[in-house]
Symmetry: C2
Subunit: 131 residues, 2 copies
């Protein structure tokens, strides 16, 4: 399978797939013409990567998760630990973002948004005093 088809199948851009090869996440053999020749296992790995990335796992997490996937003697506890830590980071980001949203939404609400210069948003940024 050539990279374009793999891209379709795995739902990843060719550039990304090449990058994943670069950093050693997949190792497709080459055809005589130099083209990457993806085997089913490679395509499968890439789909795995795509899903893990779409859940927000870092590349390093993905590497570890794939190694665990390949390891028949893994303990599910190891996988769960990674997932739980990642979940925690997501919760933290959510908290941060939602506090940003609350502040911003309030400021936007307070701003007249007309042609006059008075602006509670700028006032807050300048002084740190939320109206």
């Amino acid at each position: 399978m050539n990279i374009g088809d793999v891209a379709q199948t795995a739902g990843l851009p060719p550039k990304t797939i090449r990058y994943y090869e670069d950093i050693g996440l997949v190792k497709p053999p080459r055809d005589a013409n130099g083209y990457r020749a993806f085997r089913d296992a490679d395509v499968h790995k890439l789909a795995f990567l795509g899903r893990a990335r779409s859940l927000g796992f870092t590349i390093e997490d993905c590497r570890t998760l794939m190694a665990l996937y390949d390891d028949q003697n893994r303990a599910s506890a190891d996988v769960k630990m990674i997932a739980r830590q990642h979940l925690e980071k997501i919760e933290e980001k959510l908290a941060e973002l939602s506090s940003m949203r609350d502040t911003l939404a309030h400021l936007v609400d307070c701003c007249a948004g007309d042609e006059r210069p008075d602006c509670p948003i700028l006032n807050d940024l300048a002084t740190g005093t939320i109206p």
Copy 2:
């Protein structure tokens, strides 16, 4: 005021302040010894930047917001527009993250987390089939 004191006052690391000078957000004059000599206005700008950044505005947004702040003839509508667009992006990210969280939390819940290899998390990543 030297960079260290400004860092304390504005709540930004010295490295960040130097970086902000690099990209033209502040332009402190220099003392004879080459040290940056921050004026009150510079410190004020940096605090402004710190607050804008902590609300998640991009550097380019910050640049625009500061320009608007300096412009006595601004229309608050312009500020509000920037804030509203930023708010939208935050909402999008929130939605994305919270869907990640839901999926992950569910998977973590389903995983025994013991010494056995069976793992619904890996199964999902491998097949895209949430239990």
